[in-house]
């Protein structure tokens, strides 16, 4: 077992295990954090980082193991109890209330009051305290500003201000820079260092390894729900982190790529001068060959989802020229894309991909009901048969097609989304974050499916924020930065650095 000891731990998690139905999320995991120490918690998606942090934050119960704070064993049963112990969680998704102003957000549930039992909000104290805090964080804005007028980065700093004002001793930051620009990231890292100087302990979760290199005192690596090593300050470098995180050769994980040069006879799926509502000033153009997997990379907010939503017709576009094999297509609504064999597996599975209260059968047949109907009446025998075949052919783990989709695991839900399209001769399949929140085994199955589809002649577009994934699955990678297509990389040019340079807009 790797050494996870810290000289003077304020937090010591020992032997933490957690099982979900069908999945071991954590197996005997240890984590120690010293006072005023910045510990990076790294690992691939699904490695167990967020499960471990949810247990620490009181949002999940562990099955076994102990948690000690300052040497005292504690039971943390709710976020409120975690907060009382000085543990604060800054989530990847912002949790500010954007209908309130900055001060109200910072002091939510802890508003200074006056007037005795009337508990009137002491507005003067509220705003002066909040302003003082903002100044301390180097935020140049009034605490009376409504949060909805702030940039994402500023909103994030408001969240940090809130956690600091509670007197947190242990701060968990989950991907805090995922939606920040470079200069905003710099500012945030400075603040993190400043917090360390004030003896706040920080658990820093990030996929951006250069940030970890810059600020972490130690890096604890998780892989498949287990400890996979600890890197001390002097050992933290990019290669060692990647090796520890992946723990196997990428080539084993991804089926070897196809050839991006299959399109000799004009078999292209072509997007030209696509201008989305969010980034109307940038025209995006690219081509995908028949049988090719094109990766679409970029930071959060780079406009990747907007591009694929516009292609699928689920979002309007300022300008949208799409053609398949040289024939221009008119796509205004999803039905237009679907009838041309262009399908989207959307990012938010539970919100957009599935109707979770429908069963597996009803979900699979939904976009192609007419194929299972005569005179607009559903032929349920046909429908059931198709669902059973789909369940079998791509190995959806469900007792029957009549099971509610909500009860399936993430990976199996994703397969249900995919099953909608497989029987209907896809020409272009677009995956938006296909493996988000999916365990490793199911991930490998999804990668194999994507590769198989490409080999069958489908043009595939994969949007992904996971570097290993996009490097492993793609034949070429198109990179977006704030709505602008900053470059397209050929397989020979693939490297994490090359993608990051384009994604952060430092080149091109």
């Amino acid at each position: 077992m790797p050494n996870t000891e810290s000289p003077n731990p304020i937090l010591q998690m020992t032997g933490i295990s957690k099982r979900f139905p069908g999945v071991i999320a954590l197996e005997n995991v240890n984590l120690a954090v010293g006072k005023g120490e910045i510990v990076a918690l790294i690992g691939e998606n699904g490695a167990g980082k967020s499960t471990l942090m949810k247990i620490l934050g009181g949002a999940l119960n562990r099955d076994s193991g102990t948690v000690e704070i300052n040497g005292q064993q504690v039971e943390i049963k709710s976020p409120r109890e975690a907060s009382a112990l000085g543990i604060e969680f800054i989530h990847q998704e912002l949790s500010v209330l954007d209908n309130l102003d900055v001060a109200a957000n910072i002091f939510l549930r802890r508003e200074p009051t006056k007037g005795g039992f009337l508990k009137l909000v002491d507005r003067r104290k509220l705003y002066s305290d909040a302003d003082a805090l903002l100044k301390k964080l180097g935020l140049d804005l009034s605490s009376r500003t409504p949060v909805n007028q702030l940039s994402i980065a500023q909103q994030q700093l408001v969240e940090i201000a809130r956690t600091i004002s509670t007197g947190a001793r242990i701060l968990i930051m989950d991907e805090p820079t995922s939606s920040l620009s470079l200069s905003e990231t710099r500012r945030l890292l400075e603040i993190v260092k400043d917090l360390k100087a004030h003896e706040v302990s920080i658990i820093y979760i990030s996929h951006r390894l250069h940030e970890v290199e810059e600020i972490a005192d130690r890096a604890v690596v998780l892989r498949d729900g287990r400890n996979a090593g600890v890197l001390e300050r002097s050992e933290i470098n990019h290669d060692r982190m990647v090796r520890a995180m992946v723990g196997r050769d990428l080539k084993d994980f991804f089926v070897a790529g196809g050839n991006g040069k299959a399109a000799t006879n004009g078999d292209w799926f072509e997007v030209s001068n696509l201008r989305t509502l969010r980034y109307p000033h940038h025209a995006v153009s690219f081509k995908v060959a028949k049988g090719e997997v094109l990766g679409l990379a970029g930071l959060v907010g780079a406009g990747r989802s907007e591009v694929v939503k516009a292609i699928f017709g689920v979002e309007d576009a300022i300008e949208r020229n799409i053609s398949l094999n040289g024939k221009a297509l008119r796509i205004m609504v999803p039905r237009d894309a679907i009838s041309n064999g262009i399908y989207l597996v959307p990012e938010d599975r539970r919100q957009s991909g599935l109707i979770v209260d429908f069963n597996v059968r009803e979900n699979i047949s939904l976009p192609n009901l007419d194929a299972y109907s005569s005179v607009k009446l559903i032929n349920s025998a046909k429908e059931t048969k198709a669902a059973q075949e789909a369940v079998k052919s791509i190995n959806i783990k469900t007792p029957s097609p009549e099971m509610r989709a909500a009860n399936l695991s993430g990976g199996n839900q994703q397969k249900v989304v995919l099953a909608k399209w497989l029987g209907f001769a896809p020409k272009v399949l677009i995956f938006d974050e296909p493996t988000r929140g999916i365990d490793v085994g199911a991930k490998a199955e999804i990668y194999a499916l994507i590769r198989k589809l490409a080999q069958e002649g489908v043009s595939v577009i994969v949007v992904s924020s996971e570097m290993e994934e996009i490097l492993g699955i793609s034949d070429r990678i198109a990179v977006l930065h704030e709505g602008k297509l900053t470059g397209i990389l050929e397989r020979a040019q693939f490297s994490e650095e090359a993608v990051m340079r384009l994604a952060t807009g430092t080149e091109g």
Binding site: F358, K376, L377
Partner: protein, 328 residues
Amino acid sequence: MKKELGIFILLVVLCIIVSIKNPNFLLAINLQNLARQIGSFGIFSIGLGLVIITGGIELSVGSMMALLGVLMSMMLTEWGFGVVPAVVAIIAVAMVLTLIHGLLITRLNMQPFIVTLCGLLFYRGLARFITNDETKGFGTVAGLDFLRYLANGNLFGVPMPFVLLILISIIAWVGLHRSVYGRYLFATGRNEEAARYAGINTNRIITAAYVIAGALTAVSGIIFAFYTNSVSPANHGNAYELYGIAAAVLGGCSLRGGEGSVIGILIGTALLQVLRNLVNLLGIPSSLDFAVMGAVILIGVMADQIFTERRNRRQVALMRESMKQQTG
């Protein structure tokens, strides 16, 4: 079917209790009367149920009935319409009005509650204005026998509105539970975004539900107009939308959308009318009738909620079991 069982049992138990307490409940005349009420209320309740399945609401039903009632009377007695053109015109007016509701809701993204609340106020006011607040009847116009028969007549002893309700229910059942439109309606009500990603034109599905509700409101409206034989613009149909909503909710429709069944709505309607009947027959002060209805609806919906939770838990347990078998 399972879902409606609880409310059906409640209905049967109520009927048994009432018939024991007061055997007059089982008199043919009482049952006929009850069936007539169930028929008249059931027809528009099915329409309201469709709207509720989209996740919307339609509050203007009662006012629209008043407006349609007075228009019907004025067309026949004052404007010289023939019977068939009048009926067609009434149904068309209702469908156009609800089409406007649907378009405001889907195209302008207005909230169904607001749009139809304004309808409720506007149609009532319009009905009163065009009639100078005078009650309208059908006088001695000839050729109304068939419409009168629809409202007051019997077919082999079964009141016509009930016969009509059964016919409409069969069509609605097929439409809702067996047709592509029905599946789309449930999908849209459950999760409009996912429905859009599946290529469903959700705006059209939702608007269609309002228009169907309008047409059924017109059919019910014509029956009510000839049943009462006079339409008082200020009171006719007052609060009928609430009967429809209550019937739909009792029958398992969720106001969050995506849930409900034709059979449930029918049982819900029957239960409400039995309750009204029961208040009379058991000598409960009529001032209490709304209180009785409120209490029974609350109990019914509560029981339904408990059933649903149980069923979900059973499914999760089943899932766990099959997972264990696969991993172990």
